[in-house]
Symmetry: C2
Subunit: 343 residues, 2 copies
Amino acid sequence: MTVTNRQILLKSRPVGEPTEDNFKLVETPLPEPGPGQFRVRVIYMSLDPYMRGRMGAEKSYAASAELGQPMVGGGVGVVEVSNNEQFKPGDYVVCYSGWQSYCLSDGTGVMKLDPANAPISTGLGVLGMPGLTAYYGLLEIGKPQPGETVVVAAASGAVGSVVGQIARIKGCRAVGIAGSKEKCDFVTGELGFDACVNYKDPDFREKLAAACPNGIDVYFENVGGKVLEAVIPLFNDDARMPLCGLISQYNMTELPQGVNKLPALLRAILTHRLLIQGFIISYHFKHQPAFLKDAGGWIREGKLKYREDIVKGIENAPEAFIGLLQGRNFGKLLVQVSDDPTR
Amino acid sequence: MTVTNRQILLKSRPVGEPTEDNFKLVETPLPEPGPGQFRVRVIYMSLDPYMRGRMGAEKSYAASAELGQPMVGGGVGVVEVSNNEQFKPGDYVVCYSGWQSYCLSDGTGVMKLDPANAPISTGLGVLGMPGLTAYYGLLEIGKPQPGETVVVAAASGAVGSVVGQIARIKGCRAVGIAGSKEKCDFVTGELGFDACVNYKDPDFREKLAAACPNGIDVYFENVGGKVLEAVIPLFNDDARMPLCGLISQYNMTELPQGVNKLPALLRAILTHRLLIQGFIISYHFKHQPAFLKDAGGWIREGKLKYREDIVKGIENAPEAFIGLLQGRNFGKLLVQVSDDPTR
């Protein structure tokens, strides 16, 4: 059988929730590296909520994916053929591969991985962009102080799980929010958060308030919607809210009717001198060396744990991505595209 | 006629808009200073939007006014009788007098004024708490850079007028928002803003967008409501929003029905890496010496102008305050309680 490049193209732009019809699997010839380039066989592809923004035509914080082109995103793989002195065949790398089984690169933005340090898949999760997002947002914007209460939503996910564990390392009370009893049990039992509340519980607001008896000093926002609405009344004076994502809003086609909750947030900002700072991690890669040093140490000391949700087969990426936006994954969502020789 | 102390008491807490029934004018004996105290004859009383928060029982950023006690607030006056070495009869002072024609003080939080420097009434406006609010919020949170666009609402008011003029001094494009053509003409003609838009115009959103051809880098928020909603789509990347007040919300008894605008603000925070910081100026009085030095210089150089709206007679304070919350004043609103010997 001839080896081909299997690619998932963006076939059409979704209105509201993406469907499998928005994607198309194609097979194309194996790409050949030009001068200075090398070819990577992708092993793991990352699926992340931000990719929903790239599927739309409207201006988001990064350019849209092009119709008829592979979906964008990060991957981990192994160099197969190289015309670049910096990258040799057999090197493991994190690169911006897109949704495909092979990619070309000239090395720009590519980071090498040492499989002896940590499983290579962690380069897309706890030691990758989601981990750095948690680290930067919590420490540089949230500035948690010992004894304070840090709340994070999507607490079993790639970013939230790291936020809460770093909060614990810094001496804070860590309170997670997740979407099932199983996830909440994992967040408290395995990750060591002080509490975790299921946002699907009918008395979610009361349970969140009970889990935060001293109010909320840092709310790491990656969800929006009803979670934020439950958080607003609990803010303490001088609270901080780093904001890196809004998964609950990504599939919205219009603003929701009902009660306008903007005045409630504004009132909290005024009366509690709240700080809100939106951030996009690609502007803060200079923090990566410090992050890798700290996070690597915490993993070795058993203080920073992670869970991966690995879907096998690139053909299953669209369904897995649709599920991610609904919270169906449990842990950092990856698609295994080809064999991992390091496992 | 025996001299008495005329006081305006908080008779009842308002539901929604305050009415004159919420206040009560009483005459009480002239207060006599005890050891270390002095008596001030109040000349000007300040009326400020934040006082609406003090009329309610709910927790705001400062304690509520007590029922049956004088309304709280700042005043400028002259020391009449003193048992305090630091304050002599004839000294002009700014103090937290409350709504009354005489007050006692032990000097805590009292600042002396030199009538030769500036009219004493400015100690409640352009050189007082509103001026410092504008100075601190714009420079320390807004951090305006030359060439950027700074937008401020209530632009003819005590805070907004200073925000826009400092923005001009710092080399920015200053765009005001006000509630009448007369106010807008004053803001551009007298205060020198680059543009001013009337929020009551039916095509307010379009006019604001046209006045900000390069988007908005700093929005100094003191209003909330429809003004903020018009600003949200115009934010540039890395925009800043200092928030010191929400005059449009103070009389709200419940959150407005309709479209929930919170998601739109959150999306702007995410995609433009927006910074929002609530602040209350009483926590930042250490900036007062630098402010007085800078603002005094700007006034002498003719770069910082101000307008006062002086209502005569303490009995007219409730009506004037109710009008303030509706935008009926034009300039810094003061009540003249007794003769000003310096004019």
